[in-house]
């Protein structure tokens, strides 16, 4: 399955795009997706264990992914 991964703020700057596409086998989890993104050319600039949202809710590294999921890697937040 191919998932589109949303990037924001410093992470979007680091990868030079507001989103990237990642190919994953069925049964992949959030941690597998992160490993793929971190293996990209500029992906090393994303930290080891960033916050991730699946379908606009914070997710754990264990969470299973489906082809229809909206995934986002969330940089350190700065609201307020």
């Amino acid at each position: 399955m191919t998932l589109r991964v949303l990037l924001f703020a410093s992470y979007a700057d680091a990868l030079g795009a507001p989103a990237v596409s990642v190919d994953l086998p069925a049964g992949a989890r959030v941690r597998d997706l992160l490993a793929r993104v971190q293996a990209m050319a500029a992906g090393k600039r994303i930290p080891d264990k960033p916050m991730v949202a699946v379908n606009k809710r914070y997710a754990t590294p264990d969470q299973l992914l489906a082809a229809t999921d909206e995934v986002a890697i969330i940089p350190p937040v700065a609201g307020g």
Binding site: K56, V77, A78
Partner: protein, 138 residues
Amino acid sequence: MRTGIVERPIDPQRLLAEVAAPGNGASLLFVGTVRDVNAGSSVSGLDYSAYSGMAESELASIVAEAAERWNTRDIVVEHRVGALDIGDASVVIVVAHPHRDQAYQASRYIIEELKQRLPVWKQERYVDGRREWVTNHA
């Protein structure tokens, strides 16, 4: 209860009026504003951006948690995004409650949770032309 991620100036008085009720003995207003110096650099303004959709739902969740814990529905929160100048309000929280202690606690809960959970980012513009993404301190 009402929450919003907005792209226009926030009017604190209007929000305060929204939570007014005869049974409330305390109405508390918190206004977060853009300050002119951060970590020793002179700031000329801030650009806030949000994960649209998630920022709204996360803010609504935080306010629902506070409403349940301190037993009041008289809470309104707006967070502004876009280009802000020094002194502009970036976040306004109003809480009204029959008693002041609960109002203070609920307001404090909302700002602290928001600073840890709300998917909003800010880039500071400095007087010398530099720009930098900044993060909240724990």
